[in-house]
Point group: C2
Chain length 363, copies 2
């Protein structure tokens, strides 16, 4: 039930679709790069599968295809960026670029961003710091799907945190994690399979734990990392809350239950306290702390020690954050990106509607 496309062909499709809704060529390219990084790294829920969703937001007037993205406040190491309702896939690279520029002169740069939309995978933006010998951070708030510990109501998004750290001879350390037990994409896969969700992932509309992966469609909620109070869900809740506050209260975006939903068919709440959704980015020059060569030598030792740890029975090895995604990227760059039939059909219809070419499958 899979069609396989080359990275280049799906990238071209996304580029042409973004141009077709009015994005300037350069911004469309930026957006396609960010979007396709998800497919390359194996985060299938955040890549081309969402292309139609972005277009529907534009159709509903919620995405400005030609935003005037600008810095509205700054200090030597900080800025607030207003995304002018642009695609998050365009606004986020601008804001991360500001963080990197600030770090070049002040040692670190921290940029909170309002008036944006969904920005793809958090890790992509954090990783842009690596080429500059900087540590990159990226986080974003998102549609309210998560119930804080003890709450029936959904007040937070899956609010991911990504941290990318350069190493020397070893590949970089790249953590990219939703602050929930499980990402929403994993629930969608279980729903398609008709399989049960593990305990600790979701609760039903009454706030009781459930194994039904479709409970979130009927008033249920995803659970914060930890699952329940006994297993530390108050920690996942606190982390998701920090992401929300750094991304949106610091920038003047919407927060908590007021975050506008990604899906265009859901209404936006009235009396919004801010503008659009919010992101937060950081860049720290490694040599603002220590000579980069010393840092990288220690990172290599760190990575090798953890990777060579004795694994538990049934497991081959201990992974470094970023290992699975990097390995997936290697495979998919050469062997192509598998797309489930439903998504391929959706993309073909989208291409027809937007008057752009739909690519042939590989091989």
């Amino acid at each position: 039930m899979m069609a396989v496309f080359s990275y280049e062909s799906l990238h071209q499709l996304a580029l042409e679709v973004f141009v077709s809704i009015g994005c300037p060529e350069e911004q469309a390219l930026t957006a396609a790069d960010a979007l396709l990084s998800a497919d390359l790294r194996g985060v299938d829920s955040h890549g081309v599968a969402r292309l139609s969703g972005y277009v529907r937001l534009w159709e509903n007037g919620r995405v400005n295809p030609r935003p005037q993205i600008r810095i509205v406040h700054e200090t030597p190491s900080t800025a607030v960026v207003d995304g002018d309702s642009g695609l998050g896939l365009v606004v986020a690279p601008f804001a991360m670029g500001v963080a990197i520029q600030k770090a070049a002169t002040a040692g670190t740069g921290w940029v909170s961003t309002c008036n944006s939309n969904h920005y793809g995978i958090a890790g992509y933006h954090a990783m842009r710091a690596l080429a500059h010998d900087m540590i990159g951070l990226s986080m974003t708030n998102a549609s309210p799907l998560v119930a804080p510990t003890f709450s029936i109501e959904r007040l937070l998004g899956t609010n991911p945190i990504a941290v990318a750290i350069p190493a020397g001879a070893e590949p970089p350390f790249v953590a990219d994690l939703a602050t929930t037990t499980a990402a929403n994409g994993k629930l969608e896969i279980l729903q398609r399979k008709g399989a049960e969700a593990p305990s600790g992932w979701i609760q039903d509309a009454e706030g009781r734990g459930t194994n039904d992966p479709s409970a979130t469609a009927r008033g249920g909620a995803l659970l914060p990392l930890g699952g329940d109070r006994e297993h530390g869900s108050h920690k996942g809740y606190a982390l998701g809350a920090v992401v929300d506050i750094f991304s949106a209260v610091l920038s003047g975006a919407n927060y908590g239950p007021w975050v506008p939903p990604f899906v265009a068919f859901l209404p936006v709440a009235p009396d919004l306290p801010g503008k659009g959704i919010g992101h937060f980015f950081g860049a720290m020059r490694v040599d603002a702390f220590r000579p980069a060569a010393d840092f990288k030598a220690n990172m290599d030792q760190w990575i090798r020690r953890f990777r060579s740890a004795r694994p538990v029975e049934g497991q081959e090895r201990v992974l470094i954050p970023g290992d699975p995604e990097r390995e997936m990227e290697g495979i998919r760059r050469s062997s192509g990106i598998p797309v489930v039939d439903a998504v391929a059909a959706d993309l073909e219809a989208l291409a027809r509607k937007r008057g752009v070419n739909f690519p042939a499958t590989m091989g």
Copy 2:
């Protein structure tokens, strides 16, 4: 099995003990403030219960009571602080002070710290930013007790993260969380009671989940937040790893399995890659992003919305991070700090050994 002491009397005891080992009066006061904040906030494992432990480190030559704490490298928004083997309870306030000073001019300040020792509770240091209308961050690495996902070996500490965020009329948001399912202090309580630990907290020496809270004393390990792979332990592992790298690889302290143990009877590993243990601190001026009044008004709305969320059955209310600790502090400032008999006896013996007064209990 409890004796109750006033905050002031235990603070005086800690102050006199620190002076008795050679700390200058001012540093002893700083250390006593930091140590006792744990008892006030209900984190009993990190307060006066550890006073003997700090003294044993000094007896073993691992704590320098008169450190020359200094900045060894800096940029407008960063610094590395060398703690000169001082008490973490003294080194950390110095380093956090540098972060706050940097933020005053550069918008933010970020300080990685090497050559330190155990610094008490993470939240205390983060909260020092609040009086300056700044967001405070604090993290530290710690003795290796935690097994990364799929690892039999213990390579990380409980590596806490604290974030303190000011509000307006509402009390501040203060998250302070170990990146493990459960803090080590909770296991100690279960061991004393002879009770079982919940699943997902610990594994035995072979890397199999166990409910025996004393398994960590026989080669077992605490588990990262999430507990197992299915419930997101790779996220807790990644967060603990980020804390380790920011605290120690950025500063030149020891990291991973090389972190010197807090307990003086355990040997320090040979061929250490760095100096002492490491911390990381951050301060962000709120008005480096938005006018402080706007930010605080939004934080008040955020806090009120979350606190008024409909609770699940059997729970009275949804908590804001920091609520339980603040309420505990109110009680303990007026009604005193309960100390279990074993700890009180240990403190009385310590007072005798160090030639200082042991306080009377309350009432």
